[in-house]
């Protein structure tokens, strides 16, 4: 059997990669992809906890379902916003969208 820590370390690696992506990438779409990575890691975590530690009330499984749902909704909306910005400013580069600057 695989100890739970293996799965948790895996999800940590994925999450860190996601963090790097969010902070380092310039295009909004790329950032969104990194966010998807982070969400994946979170799902793995939830399911691992549910299956290993709390098999009676496996809330983690249910949560993972919701995570997927919400992630889908969020991606749809976020991409719509990106499209909007692109239309207004002709760029999807988050470094150039700094209208709320001091």
């Amino acid at each position: 059997m695989i100890p739970i820590q293996h799965f948790l370390v895996l999800s940590s690696i994925l999450f860190s990669l996601g963090i790097y992506g969010v902070l380092a990438r310039r295009s909004a779409v790329l950032i969104l992809m990194s966010i998807e990575l982070m969400l994946q890691a979170v799902s793995i975590n939830f399911i691992a906890f549910a299956v290993y530690l709390y098999p009676k009330e496996f809330s983690g499984l249910i949560f993972a379902i919701f995570v997927i749902t919400i992630a889908a909704a969020e991606v749809g909306l976020a991409l719509a916003i990106v499209l909007r910005i692109f239309r207004n400013k002709a760029t999807a580069n988050v470094d150039e969208v700094d209208v709320l600057k001091w």
Binding site: Y20, L23, L30, S34, L37, T69, I70, A73, F86
Partner: protein
Amino acid sequence: MSYEEVIFYFVAALTVLGGLGVVLARNVVHSALFLIVALLAVAAVFILLSAEFLAIVQILIYGGAVTILILFAMMLTRVRDMPGALDGPQRPFAALAAAAFLGLSVLAVVSAEWPGETEKITVIEFSDLGDKLFRNWAAPFEVASLVLLVALIGAIILARGEEGE
């Protein structure tokens, strides 16, 4: 090493490789493709965790819908044509932050005392899952569907454009 461990390491490596590709690729379309790899690998991880239903859902939704969405957005925002669209000026800090987080997280995992069984997976019956979902979690379920509706409407409005288009 048992069979499961071998399979686990293989799937894990695949996932990590996919993730690395997403954040490090020089070509944005390559990033998207690497994302597909990562998503599918995560589905395999779910199977290893005996959450087959979720694996299927994952493949359907992520591997199907989300990736298409992202590819479309890439096309519409002409990411490929824009220069300097890849890495921003925060790179070193990002690497630092990610490394710090990773270190902390692994430390926490390794040194924590887990309540309960950490070696054995308990398989969860599919029917139990459905039961729980529609009984105890019925309200959040409905709310989730509302969220989807709102997101749908919002996306349409936002992406529709100016009046008369």
